[in-house]
Symmetry: C2
Subunit: 208 residues, 2 copies
Amino acid sequence: MQSLKSIFPQFGGPLIDQLEKIGQVVEFKEGDMLLRTGQYFKQSLLVLEGRVKLYREGENGEEFFLYYLERGNACALSIICATRNETSEIKGQAVTPVKVLTIPLQFMDSLMKDYREWYFFVLETYRTRFEELLQVIDQIAFHSMDEKLEFYLKRQFDFLKSKTISITHQQIADDLNSSREVISRLLKKLESQHRISISRNEISQISL
Amino acid sequence: MQSLKSIFPQFGGPLIDQLEKIGQVVEFKEGDMLLRTGQYFKQSLLVLEGRVKLYREGENGEEFFLYYLERGNACALSIICATRNETSEIKGQAVTPVKVLTIPLQFMDSLMKDYREWYFFVLETYRTRFEELLQVIDQIAFHSMDEKLEFYLKRQFDFLKSKTISITHQQIADDLNSSREVISRLLKKLESQHRISISRNEISQISL
DNA sequence: TTTGTTATGTGATCGTAGTCACTGAAACTG
DNA sequence: CAGTTTCAGTGACTACGATCACATAACAAA
């Protein structure tokens, strides 16, 4: 686990050692569920490799995309739920092969107390995710579907650091809790404005 | 400030003493703004008395009700923003006369380090608010206006611990970023189902 | 190349909610 | 009490987005 220090450069040596001692590495395949609604957390998760997509789940199986976790991120929910031993109403799915470090919840207190960087890290995790949730609320509270779609695409391009994303209209519709036809039509509109270009399974950014 | 211990019974004596030493009590009148979009936080806020209504603000002045803060709550945003010295995009308005204890941000670290109850308190604050935000997302992502309205009314009844709330249809429409006519019509529908009763400036719970 | 599957395009229809214009009713003010 | 303001009710119209029913296009596998 020599890579831990490179994934979390802000952590000091003693914290790294402690994490190596108490943590356990778990691997997931693309498509695997890391978190599932109603599941108990027995540990917190730190993402070492890969990308995890987090959704909010509705009562009837609807889903709404919240944000991605990647290398170096912690799952805010797993810290929250872990410290309270509560259930999750969030779905986390690996969108690439994923490696995570799991920290049993009984160590959270001492980590928090003994390592200043850890507590900063946890606070920073909360802060970031809190703000992302607020942004999501902005989108769905104040904006119409075409603006939500634009915001969604921007986030994908930004996060994946690519001018092209591989995704179907149906997947987008699912992420936005909308329907394929609507998304197709709106994508067409964006294309006709020369802001994106569309081909099967792919959308490319022009000027978003 | 003999009351601090009664408002925060989970805090130990030394922490209470420290808070009394570094904190400052500020009072607001009903209707005053405690937080305003774009404002810098220089301190964290603990609510000692009264009720504060928190909104998310849209780009064009729209607003969306998030949650209430009351006696014994901390403003999660003020902790977040304080620790990073960033700006807020949240609006906090006193809905009753309000008394808050302000903690200059430079003390946050030492409080966190020296007082275990404080760090639990901060984490619990985050956890609670995080979950409230997720619930808000549920409502606006998965539910239609009549369901949002029902959820809104339930929250008001629950939070205010009263069978009757004093509010105009216009205020509800603002809180839900909708329009008065729509809210009026939906309230009528709820009344015709004998789930609420309506009179001028008042809505009473029957079976929500 | 044929066949099957998955992804996308498109018209028609419908319901929800936002808007406009107006009426009516209740409370407040002098 | 008359006049004014604030709050609520209602019909007409419109737009957005969900849904249905297909048609077509791209790709994959045989």
